[in-house]
Amino acid sequence: MPRISFNGIAKSYGDTQVIKTFSADVPDNEFLVLLGPSGCGKSTMLRMIAGLTDITEGQLEFDGAAVNGTGPNERDIAFVFQSYALYPHLSVRANIAFPLLMSRFKPYHHLPLVNALMRRRMLRDPEIDAQVRRVADMMELTDYLDRRPRTLSGGQRQRVAVGRALVREPSVYLLDEPLSNLDAMLRTQMRAEISALHQRVRKSFVYVTHDQVEAMTMGTRIIVLNEGVVQQYGTPKEIYDRPANTFVARFIGSPPMNLMDCELDGRSVRFPDGTVLELPEGGAAPDGPARGITLGVRAEKVSVEAADTAKAGALPARVVVSEYLGAETVVAFQLGTRMDESGTVGGRDLLHARIPGEVRLAAGDACAVRLDLTDASFFGSDGGGRLPVAAAKGVA
């Protein structure tokens, strides 16, 4: 429910700054995804939102009120840990009910032995029982309420962790890579379930992941992080269509955006091998420098045809690998006619085309590549930032 505002937030451990100063405003009820490679600081950022890690600089606000000094239990949040962090000595029922019990416990109830007695007594309370059953029904855990976490499968444990977060009906749900321990099939299923859950409860979600597919499919807003620096903040479409820099361009999308060095001469794009392509009428051209820039084209904007059928305006290339995925084929290729011995799959010079259906090209085949530059991105060579685009010309 609350609007989350990051005002000049930064985090340092001693002299090492792990999250550089950044600001962002996340409207309420959004599904915010913190996305980035391992060690980029996304979990640290989530822990700062939770109050589990202190904020070194700046102010974190929930609905305009600073929460820097408040503890995790005062922020009206729920946290689903990557490792689930279930209480192994308690049943599923007691795990789910735990936040409810804590809100009712008096200080002396926490004493050893007394806590076990009070827990047992309160679990029989009709109100708590009803709340636990409601969540268990939602998470399909009703049959497992009296079991211990160790007897459950990974997916079931994950549901218990989410159920424990749900039962208190908090304002903000924080999820730290909750699907990373599940197998691919279960992950897809749980992804849909968490998205549905967000739709159902209409609360703010903050979700940490390194998986850009999760980010794109679940998030309504994404913060992309790298080495503690926020690279871009926007909707999935903004981030996919208009990446802020070459890091985001390569990190978002599978296969990643194709990046090619080029020079711009008016509306002509000149490649290092001398090939020249014209920007289409109506397509935007960058406002910035003409030399040493990087052209970015998404794989679905690239088409590949056999070399002998190629017409003018196609770039000569050679297929490195062709991956048939059923509904589509991803062709990895290198520009030029010679096969580069050092060109390895995933190398910087390896480009990709995503083509519907099947493509009859094998590794090593000469081919011709056609680029649709209508929505192309241009990045400066210095730092790889996105170049501002001039108003489109020639629009009818």
């Binding site: 840990f81 689930y84 962090a85 279930l86 926490h110 050893p112 990974g154 321990n181």
Partner: protein, 276 residues
């Protein structure tokens, strides 16, 4: 075939180990059920004389305040256990979870207490006990035994607490559990097997301790059983059967305590808490 042979060999190995471990108890029992004459008569009696068991026990306990000695031992052992565990749990939690100046030195100091022989400390401790009026006082014995038992308990519990994932505690904090309650609510149940192991070690430290008891307790009515047992050894005569019978009586409560606690010494309690 190979697996069958393997299981037979394993069974044989276990039997030998059990026999080795159990033989002293058996020999205690056998010796206790024979008269001094029989024991020193030249024959080795391998089998216990079960008919004499009750008489032997009665004879051993007659003329000495055996029950009082056992009660004193229980007071010292339980006192040492409770005091050691109470302090060790807090110290272990601090060592496991917090970073503070001098943590390494503190940890080493705990180890260092185990390097000092008890005999070395008898004289300074006697002087301290004299000053504080702790001589002939079971409470004093509890304190001195705790000083030696607690560091071991701290290290056992610290390693157990190191194995409790910090996320579980953080999860409890998010769920509204106050920080002071995380230890009793979350951590202690998870390390129950190690607490039981530490309890066994500290209990036996207190139950078996002899040197301090012999030095600090002179009043016969305040002797723990370890000291009382030693009093059977005379200058000229040692009634070996009575010593063994009394030793058997002395051993039984400790065995009962161990059987009671060992149920808790099971591993794998934290299985299922984190990751699949």
């Amino acid at each position: 075939m190979t697996s069958r042979l393997g299981s037979v060999m394993r069974g044989l190995g276990v039997t030998v180990l059990v026999a080795l471990a159990g033989f002293p108890i058996y020999w205690l029992f056998t010796t206790a059920t024979h008269t001094t004459g029989e024991l020193f008569g030249g024959h080795v009696h391998l089998l216990p004389d079960l008919g004499r068991f009750a008489t032997s026990m009665r004879d051993a306990a007659s003329g000495v305040p055996m029950l009082r000695w056992l009660t004193n031992s229980a007071v010292v052992a339980f006192g040492t256990t409770l005091l050691s565990l109470a302090m060790a749990i807090l110290a272990a939690y601090a060592l496991s979870r917090y970073r503070f100046r001098g943590k390494g030195v503190f940890g080493f100091a705990l180890f260092a207490t185990q390097m000092l022989p008890e005999a070395l400390l008898v004289v300074p401790l006697y002087s301290i006990f004299l000053t504080f009026g702790l001589l002939d006082n079971l409470g004093g014995l509890v304190l001195s035994d705790t000083a030696f038992a607690m560091p071991v308990a701290v290290w056992i519990l610290k390693s157990a607490m190191d194995g409790v994932p910090p996320e579980i505690e953080e999860s409890a904090r998010v769920d509204g559990c106050p920080r002071y309650a995380i230890l009793p609510q979350i951590v202690l149940p998870l390390i129950a097997p190690s607490i039981a192991a530490a309890a066994v070690i500290t209990f036996f430290d207190g139950w078996n301790e002899y040197l301090f008891a012999n030095t600090f307790i002179t009043d016969e009515r305040k002797w723990p059983a370890s000291k009382g047992l030693a009093s059977f050894v005379g200058e000229f005569v040692t009634p070996l059967n009575h010593v063994m019978a009394a030793a058997l009586i002395f051993t039984l409560p400790a065995i009962v305590f161990f059987l009671f606690v060992q149920r808790r010494i099971v591993s794998g309690l934290t299985a299922g808490s984190v990751k699949g």
